[in-house]
């Protein structure tokens, strides 16, 4: 039974893009996404109202109306031990071109650093409703659910501070579905979703990685060849003066997407489900604020046209695409007590090569450097397509109680070159248990616990040493649902 779609990477994308605001090279959170959509019994071959999300075709086999609603809590433990493998200058200096004078090299900035961790707790919830408007033929459904949610709260001064400090992301879908039961063997379904996203985050923005900053320095009137920009080597990164606190607040996205599915029942015991979830273009509109309160930016170079206000605020637009995915599910009733099911998803994360972030503020403009009031930055992600497989064993313990166990695996999307604490990605193992108590003929209660964690991932190939180190991730989600049939 498929339960939770591959949410972590979209969340990572969201965070990554948002936190990029001004500079590529800072990454974002991902790993906190263990939102429960539906119950542990939901999936692409499950016939419940949560099929609105998993496979709307399965709605076609609902005999009665169904209301499924619940709430949950996501608890995470994310740990990161940064490993400096590059060469850095002393952070309170300002050498902008390699090779560095050895006198400026910070010999202490090397090797493993103190471990940082985040223990986010985030609520989630959903509600699904489905009703057969034409018995055994046509079922309509509607649902509101939160497929993506993440929260991070790393130390503000930790080694990851240039990747992410704090983040909070949710993405909710309001979906209307329709399912057409062709016959006992085949049903078709489709849904259209309004997607609302909400994002906030903070980090230190490294101007050393900002293309415009490097160009402004290189262009007239300053004319200084420099190594700043997206490809800046570690030698010129993470300088105190160029590491500016930035926050994105109240960023809201309104988008739309759809899904289509088919349910096939070759035999009475065997179910097959196919679902296509279309990609979603996310456009987060919010406000950014960046602390430029260093005399380097506010005063010392004013005569050269470099003069920011101490606090620059303005509009921010974060855009990226949540990837499309194909899911194939399979279920088989072994006997009256046991059932096995599972799914295989192929997710087109390679759609995401960059996150585009646009900030706009008249206070950003530095005409003398050719920097206008609008800045668009791409954060390279270069993600790979991923697979997600899960298998479930269902067991009717009693006539009123049904139990479920889940094992699964997700492959990582982030390559070593772009991974960071915003998307602590890796080979993810998934496990879960759940139980359904049918209180009455119409009312059921579902409780689920689900855990996932990545195998500790040690990265040494991060571009420009931005994210080398060891990543650990563990997420637990618990949820309770009320299921009412009528």
């Amino acid at each position: 039974m498929q339960r939770i779609l591959r949410l972590s990477l979209p969340l990572a994308a969201t965070l990554a893009g948002a936190s990029t605001l001004l500079a590529p090279g800072s990454a974002q959170a991902s790993g906190l996404d263990a939102p429960l959509v539906g119950t542990g019994f939901s999936g692409p071959v499950s016939r419940d109202a949560a099929a609105i999300w998993f496979n709307p075709a399965q709605l076609g086999y609902l005999k009665k109306g169904e209301l499924l609603m619940g709430a949950g809590l996501i608890i995470g433990d994310i740990r990161y031990t940064r490993n400096y493998t590059g060469t850095y200058q002393t952070p309170d200096s300002f050498q902008f071109k390699t090779p560095l004078d050895p006198a400026y090299i910070d010999a202490t900035k090397s090797g493993m650093q103190e471990q940082v961790k985040a223990n986010p707790i985030a609520p989630t919830g959903n509600i699904f409703f489905a009703y057969p408007v034409i018995k055994d033929r046509l079922v309509l459904g509607a649902g509101f659910y939160v497929p993506y949610a993440a929260a991070l709260n790393f130390p503000k001064d930790g080694p990851q501070r240039l990747q992410v400090q704090q983040a909070f992301i949710v993405s909710s879908n309001l979906t209307g579905s329709v399912a057409l039961r062709i016959n006992d063997y085949v049903a078709l379904g489709a849904g259209a979703s309004y997607v609302m996203g909400f994002a906030e985050l903070s980090k230190l923005q490294d101007f050393a990685g900002v293309q415009e900053f490097g160009q402004g320095l290189a262009n007239p009137p300053i004319n200084q060849a420099n190594d700043f920009g997206p490809n800046a080597p570690s030698e010129v990164r993470e300088l105190d003066v160029l590491s500016r606190p930035i926050s994105l607040k109240r960023a809201v996205s309104h988008s739309a997407t759809f899904n289509v599915g088919v349910a096939i029942n070759p035999t009475k015991k065997m179910n097959i489900g196919l679902n296509y979830q279309h990609s979603t273009n996310m456009h987060y509109h919010g406000r950014f604020a960046i602390d430029m309160n260093d005399s380097f930016f506010t005063h010392d170079l004013a005569s050269q046209g470099v003069q920011f206000k101490p606090l620059v605020t303005g509009d921010a637009l974060l855009t990226f695409k949540l990837p499309k995915r194909l899911t194939a599910g399979f279920g088989y009733d072994i006997n009256e007590f046991f059932r096995v099911d599972g799914f295989f998803s192929y997710i087109f994360y390679s759609d995401i090569q960059n996150f585009a972030v646009t900030t706009k503020s008249p206070d950003l403009a530095q005409p003398a450097l050719g920097i206008g009031d609008t800045l668009t930055v791409n954060l390279p992600r270069m993600w790979k397509n991923t697979v997600w497989v899960e298998g479930n064993l269902r067991y009717w313990a009693t006539k009123r109680m049904r139990l479920s166990g889940t094992l699964g695996y997700q492959s990582p999307a982030s390559p070593d070159s772009t991974i960071d604490t915003a998307s602590p990605d890796g080979h993810r193992l998934i496990g879960g248990v759940g139980g359904l108590l049918q209180v009455s003929e119409r009312v059921g209660l579902v409780a689920d616990a689900r855990m996932q964690g990545i195998l500790p991932r040690t990265v040494t190939g991060s571009d420009y040493d931005l994210g080398n180190g060891t990543y650990k991730l563990f997420i637990a989600a618990i949820a309770g649902h009320l299921k009412i049939n009528f």
Partner: protein
């Protein structure tokens, strides 16, 4: 985009409220520093950040230049602009003026024009001693012009005094005697303790202000000026430019650029008055390494015109109020006894006398004999190597004029002719106005000269760089410095520099915002300031600042410009390029 008022919004925002604990970036309001009370202590942190730019091109348009403070413009000497070509052009334009144009000139100017054009052929000798010589020539049937031309050995249509000689003399005497063409202001140095520098002969000092304003102040600068501005009784040079209008020497696309290699950031220091962090302009202290003179492109100028155009120029030459006679004796040698030699060099008579003398110096000693038709020698005109000119008659044809130096003869002619038209003595001050004067300029040569001058004294240009890169803020009493990393390890470290007069912040007019009133500049080991521990050690070329190397735990004492005394304790270093100072007013 406004959010639709639907359930998802409410729920999402509710979730956000629950979990949205991302702190918004804010900037705290700056602390308002205040004066320390005696016994009060405050800790302050300074950073030394080096932003070493190499070949940083500082480009200034004509508008940028014009925006500089007047003091900066006036004090930035570019070159001594030689007026030779200018005077040649001006005098030629006067000389070649058409008769109809000349009719518009004042009588004295018309007379001067005639003098410039005077040849043996057109010379009117009426009223001069030469009038008799002319009559002698007539007696023997020889054209008078031929006699007059024979003495200076010229053709009858040649100028009696060539234009180049007139121009040369006007330049040397009239222009050269003006105080502004003799000295210009510059930096006070050991070699020039009065801050005065000689101007190249025949030149006027050209400043950035002249360039920026297209010589707008030309008439003021080269008008009447006391020879000694400090002496109210001083003689006054009458000047030579009465008015100059519509001068253009730079085009509107003028662009001056210099490449500098410099730490572009100011030094961070402490204003002891209120214990605030202040910025000290760092340009002046880097003047020795500011420019790479080996780079031929270290300075470029575009938009210098290839000719200076003066739409209207009024010049004047003043005559002496009385008729001063030419000499009539050989002694005293070598000039003779004319009082004209004692006149001020800017007066018309003196200019003529000098021109005539220089013309005379070109004449080889010779005698010209003039005979009657009977081949009888009638008279002889001789001039010797000293210019003494003598006419001798042999037949009974009349009395020759008395002998005199040739310049004495010419100056008489010139004086008489200057008063043609009924001008009384003293009324023949020459003033003439020329329009559309075009003086050729070699921009490349000008630029080379400017570059050579700056290379000799980069501090002049550094003052402009300091203005253009004005990063001073507040009024530091001392600042924090770290020597360049290329220095030896024992020189590396944290230094405190006490400010010098050059570090005082300048206002919009480039004037110091405060006087340098430190009674005891430097750092001391005792509260009585009797044991100075700072010195003028040379670091990175700086030898003007009282400086001291400090390490954690050091205690120093100092006094600010208001006489308040402070104790300074060096705290733990926050980072390699930062320093923490605990300052107590005592």
């Amino acid at each position: 985009m406004p959010a639709p008022r639907i359930v998802p919004v409410a729920l999402t925002l509710a979730l956000a409220a629950l979990g949205g604990c991302v702190d918004e970036v804010t900037v705290p309001a700056p602390e308002v520093p205040g004066e320390l009370a005696p016994g009060q202590t405050r800790t302050i942190e300074l950073r030394f950040l080096r932003f070493d730019v190499d070949g940083f091109q500082q480009v200034m348009t004509i508008d940028d230049v014009r925006a500089l403070p007047k003091k900066t413009l006036d004090e930035l000497w570019l070159l001594d602009f030689h007026l030779g070509e200018t005077l040649d052009t001006v005098l030629a334009q006067l000389r070649d003026m058409s008769p109809s144009e000349a009719d518009g000139l004042p009588q004295a100017a018309r007379n001067m024009r005639n003098l410039l054009n005077m040849t043996p052929d057109n010379a009117s000798l009426v009223g001069t001693k030469l009038e008799e010589a002319v009559s002698l020539a007539g007696t023997v049937g020889i054209p008078p012009a031929k006699v007059l031309a024979a003495i200076p050995q010229i053709m009858v249509t040649d100028n009696l005094v060539p234009p180049d000689i007139v121009s040369e003399v006007v330049l040397e005497l009239l222009v050269g005697s003006h105080p502004v063409t003799q000295f210009r202001k510059g930096p006070v140095t050991d070699e020039h303790p009065d801050g005065l520098y000689p101007v190249a002969p025949g030149s006027i000092p050209m400043t950035l202000a002249d360039l920026a304003t297209n010589f707008a102040s030309l008439a003021d600068r080269f008008g009447p000026t006391p020879l000694d501005p400090n002496d109210p009784m001083s003689p006054v040079h009458p000047g030579f430019i009465d008015d100059a209008y519509g001068i253009s020497i730079v085009e509107e696309d003028f662009k001056m650029s210099v490449k500098v290699s410099v730490n572009a950031l100011p030094f961070k220091g402490v204003d002891l008055g209120d214990l605030s962090v202040a910025s000290v302009n760092s340009i002046a202290s880097q003047v020795d390494t500011l420019f790479d003179f080996n780079d031929p492109e270290w300075m470029t100028v575009e938009g210098l015109a290839d000719e200076m155009v003066i739409q209207e120029l009024t010049m004047s030459i003043h005559e002496n109020d009385k008729f001063v006679l030419g000499g009539d004796a050989r002694d005293p040698k070598p000039n003779g006894n004319s009082e004209i030699w004692d006149l001020p060099p800017w007066e018309f008579e003196r200019l003529i006398m000098e021109s005539a003398a220089r013309r005379t110096a070109l004449i080889a000693p010779h005698c010209d004999e003039y005979k009657l038709a009977t081949d009888t020698l009638a008279f002889e005109a001789c001039i010797d190597a000293e210019g003494w000119t003598e006419l001798t008659t042999f037949a009974d044809i009349g009395d020759p004029p008395p002998p005199a130096y040739f310049w004495d003869i010419l100056v008489e002619v010139a004086q008489v002719r200057l008063h043609d038209g009924g001008l009384a003595e003293g009324d023949a001050d020459v003033q003439f106005t020329l329009t559309d004067v075009r003086i050729p300029i070699d921009p490349d040569a000008l630029l080379e000269q400017i570059k050579e001058n700056f290379q000799r004294d980069p501090s002049a240009l550094a003052s402009v760089a300091e203005r253009v890169n004005d990063a001073a803020e507040g009024d530091a009493d001392f600042f924090y410095y770290q020597p360049e990393r290329s220095n030896s390890p024992n020189l590396q470290g944290d230094y405190l520099y006490f400010v010098t007069e050059a570090d005082i912040r300048k206002d919009a007019e480039a004037l110091p915002v405060r006087e340098y009133t430190y009674a005891r500049p430097g750092f001391f080991a005792d509260p009585d300031l009797s044991d100075k521990v700072s010195n003028l050690q040379v670091i990175d070329g700086d030898e003007t600042h009282e400086k001291i190397k400090v390490v954690t735990g050091d205690v120093l004492y100092m006094e600010d410009d208001a006489g308040r005394r402070f104790k300074l304790s060096v705290g733990e270093k926050p980072s390699p390029s930062r320093i923490s100072l605990e300052i107590t007013r005592i």
